[in-house]
């Protein structure tokens, strides 16, 4: 990926002057939004697939060691579970990358958008019953997310 930043590195700097290493505010915001988008696609998708898989696996008993073993076998031989895990791995990698430059307390709430999408998928793809109170709760969570999203992505110093 080519660098779209300034060309400070190419210029000759006086001794003792540290070249600016922070990308422009704009660039940082775009990159952050892009990765948050990946996070909010893969996270709900993974959760919905896991939910489907766990319901396919049926009731599990984990009160005895052999029960735990059987539960593991039952869960990990369900193909949909593996699709869910693959989706969550894609989510996790995107999430880790964005956390390398953006504040945790900024990124984490921003990804809550995915928690809203998961409710829509639950209702329309899995035909779950979502009561009005639950929709209200989800809408308030969404408002909370938007509020947090309007704060700057990084508040700590960079070295």
């Amino acid at each position: 990926m080519g660098s779209t930043k300034g060309t400070f590195q190419d210029e000759e700097l006086a001794p003792g002057i540290v070249p600016p290493s922070m990308p422009s505010h704009h660039h940082l915001r775009f990159k952050t939004y892009l990765f948050i988008l990946l996070v909010i696609i893969f996270s709900p998708l993974g959760n919905v697939l896991l939910s489907t898989g766990m319901k396919q696996a049926g009731p599990l008993s984990i009160s005895t060691p052999s029960g735990v073993f059987h539960a593991f076998v039952q869960v990990f031989t369900t193909p949909v579970i593996w699709l869910g895990i693959a989706s969550l791995i894609a989510y996790f990698i995107s999430y880790m990358l964005v956390l390398s430059w953006a504040d945790y307390s900024y990124v984490q709430p921003a990804t809550a958008m995915g928690y809203v999408i998961v409710a829509l998928l639950g209702r329309f793809a899995l035909h779950e019953t979502v009561t009005p109170l639950r929709w209200i709760g989800i809408a308030i969570i969404f408002l909370g997310v938007v509020t947090v999203g309007q704060t700057p992505p990084r508040t700590t110093g960079h070295h």
Binding site: M1, P44, N47, V48, L50, S51, M54, K55, A57, P59, L60, I62, V75, L88, M96, L97, L99, S100, W101, D103, Y104, S105, Y106, Q108, P109, A112, Y115, V118, A119, L121, G122, R123, L126, E128, T129, V130, T131, L133, R134, I136, G137, I138, A139, I140, I141, F142, L143, G144, V145, V146, T147, V148, G149, Q150, T151, T155, T156, H158
Partner: protein, 125 residues
């Protein structure tokens, strides 16, 4: 009901604790700027050498299995919004464990999330 509450607690506390540890490890690596496969692979190997990453991944594994157990008991449209309690734990952890400046506006957002989660919780059956 007791089983569900324990699982929610594990999902939120182990999940957020794990993410805080992972963030600490990733901040040690520094901003990832090179997204070519070779460079990403090198980044992954450097990450694996940081202790916080292993603690983080362990905690996230606990949260993951708790989530699986919860999803076998309840609807996904209930489970996932309730785990939004992560935001409360995240703002507190971001402030005290990572030294981030959690501002008034972020706290307001976190409070809204709390109210929303409460509504979702009481919508259970």
């Amino acid at each position: 009901m007791f089983k569900e509450l324990v699982l929610i607690f594990l999902i939120v506390v182990a999940g957020t604790g794990g993410e805080l540890c992972v963030t600490r490890a990733m901040k040690k690596i520094g901003e990832v700027k090179d997204f070519r496969p070779g460079a990403l692979l090198r980044t992954i190997f450097r990450v694996l050498g940081i202790g916080w990453m292993w603690i983080g991944v362990g905690l996230m594994a606990i949260a993951f299995f708790s989530l699986l157990a919860m999803l076998s008991l309840e609807n996904v449209s209930f489970v996932v919004p309730v785990t939004a309690l992560n935001y409360v734990a995240g703002a507190i952890g971001g402030k005290f464990f990572l030294g981030e400046n959690v501002m008034g506006r972020r706290w307001a957002g976190v409070l809204l999330v709390c109210i929303g989660v409460t509504c979702v919780f009481f919508s259970r059956r």
